[in-house]
Amino acid sequence: MRIDPKTTDKVSTGVFYLVAAGFILLLVFFVGYILYQGRLRLNLNFITSAPVFMKAGGGIAPQLFNSLYLVFLSILITVPIGLSAGIYLAEYARQNRITKAIRFCIEALASLPSIVIGLFGLLVFVSMTGWGYTLMSGALAVSILNLPVITRISEDSLRGVPHSYKEASLALGATHWQTITRVLIPVALPGLITGIVMTAGRAFGEAAALLYTAGMSSPKLNFSNWNPLSFTSPLNPFRPAETLAVYIWKVNSEGLIPDARQVADGSAAILVISVFLFNICSRFLGRLFSNRFLGKSK
């Protein structure tokens, strides 16, 4: 007996809804579990105090700061390079060998396991430069990880700008470069910002590439010393800097502090909350800029 196509249609639709609902539930479970486990540590004291050596009750202030600073540095490196490469690919590149080579390289870089990038960082940024394990080495390693993503996002969002905009600008006598900087980039800005914030989130949670570059220790920081050349200054990029994700990994594996489990729980919760914040920020900024620029140009 043949089953009525309408019935199959209804059943399959039901299955699709189930799958979608399943994913939502999975996320709710993940986030709920992490937040529930970490709830005891979600207070200001945990975020603002330094880890205590071999004793319970330490916080994660230096690690959190390191994560943020590392993300900041890596954005400082990736955005100019990635955006430029994106502009090149979207606006200037002809169908030639160089373009093909760049595209291939982007894909190759994007699919590299982050542990391989970490090992490369160990060889080049840590050993060859003689810096040792530093925040800068870590930032460079994470930049390699994020470059392909930023480039692709830049190219995509520039290509997404309607052709009429570009033609109008060129028709008014603007040069190609003027068109790019004054028309295309502003219009593409919402997409760019979203992309940048998303990659920032990725850098925030990266651990494998940092184990061998930014290091697994965090020397004492003096948060009142803002001279970037001083050794204890948080701003000095040439100091070992354990990030939050690396700290979770280390606390779990060493387990030397008695409240290791709680500290790992709390750090994971902070990480997930940060990812949420990054997401909300990217959406908010994207909308803000799109209102400003598109509103104006209409």
């Binding site: 490196i77 100019p80 810096w131 394990y133 050349l229 594996s253 387990g255 030397l256």
Partner: protein, 293 residues
């Protein structure tokens, strides 16, 4: 014109900033300290994660005493530490094992050994295992896969689960050498965990499991076994009755100089002894027995 310029300028600025940062790194490393009493300058110690907590604590105390000196302590593993010190990337290489066991002979020969303290290891099992002591022979049979059930060594009928550290780990090398008499462990049977913390967690979660941990990690969540009837205590180790222990080494390339020398001296000094004991290590000066390889 007004809008395009900032973009180019910003681009160039950022680029030059990153170049400048790269450039100034070399200036920041040897911080010239104002002339003052005590050692000044900086030293880096890289390597063993087992020694890292102690070295970090020591660096903290050392820098409090000597305001002009800076000591950076970094993990990364014994192999990394030895490589870095042999290649001049670090002033001190921390290691769980003798350099000759990791490095090629020509490189190991250039390094000077400083045995800063001793670490004792205990055979540990899941608390539910009803065995209190194992002989060396029994241990070897368990780890080589000849004995696979606890009932064969006087315990209950329960399958033995071996938890190992990675083959490259110093802890495993020590255990193999002194507890198993160098016997090659059976491959393909043991679970391997990357770190002592992970071992401890897996051990307390897994029924019938056996592993080994540094004494500083042993607490109520696991059960420490006697080795040939001897308990794994500090007293038994210092007197030489209990054999499963190893030195923690700090290697320097050639004789130690400058801050590195002062730092190593500080760790081996009487002033630091109580901290060593407190953190679960054994001061080298209390050992009544010695080893040289």
């Amino acid at each position: 014109m007004t809008k395009c310029k900032p973009f180019v300028i910003a681009l160039i600025l950022v680029l030059s900033l990153s170049v400048a940062l790269v450039g100034c790194s070399s200036n920041t490393q040897p911080t010239p300290a104002p002339a003052a009493s005590g050692p000044s300058g900086s030293a880096t110690a890289v390597g063993s994660s087992a020694l890292q907590p102690l070295a970090e604590k020591a660096a903290e105390m050392f820098m409090e005493k000597n305001k002009n000196a800076k000591v950076q302590v970094q993990g990364g593993g014994s192999g990394t530490g030895l490589t870095q010190v042999a290649q001049g990337g670090a002033d001190i290489g921390n290691s769980d094992v003798f350099a000759a066991e990791k490095l090629p002979a020509d490189q190991a020969g250039t390094l000077v050994d400083h045995k800063v303290c001793v670490v004792g290891f205990a055979t540990v099992v899941n608390p539910e295992v009803k065995v209190d002591s194992l002989t060396g022979k029994q241990l070897i049979d368990i780890f080589t896969g000849k004995i696979t059930n606890w009932k064969d060594v006087g315990g209950q009928d329960l399958k033995i689960v071996i938890l190992n550290r990675p083959a490259s780990s110093g802890t495993r090398a020590t255990f193999k050498k002194y507890a198993l008499n160098g016997a090659e462990e059976a491959t393909g049977q043991a679970l391997t965990e990357d770190s002592s913390g992970a071992i401890k967690k897996a051990l307390s979660d897994t029924k019938g499991s056996i592993s080994y941990l540094a004494l500083s990690y042993v607490d109520n969540s696991v059960k420490a076994l006697k080795y040939d009837g001897v308990e794994a205590t500090v007293a038994n180790i210092t007197s030489g009755k209990y054999p499963i222990w190893s030195y923690e080494h700090m290697y320097t390339k050639g004789e130690a100089k400058g801050v590195a020398k002062d730092f190593i001296e500080f760790i081996m000094s009487d002033a630091f002894k109580s901290t060593i004991t407190q953190m679960g290590y054994i001061p080298n000066s209390e050992m009544k027995v010695t080893r040289d390889k």
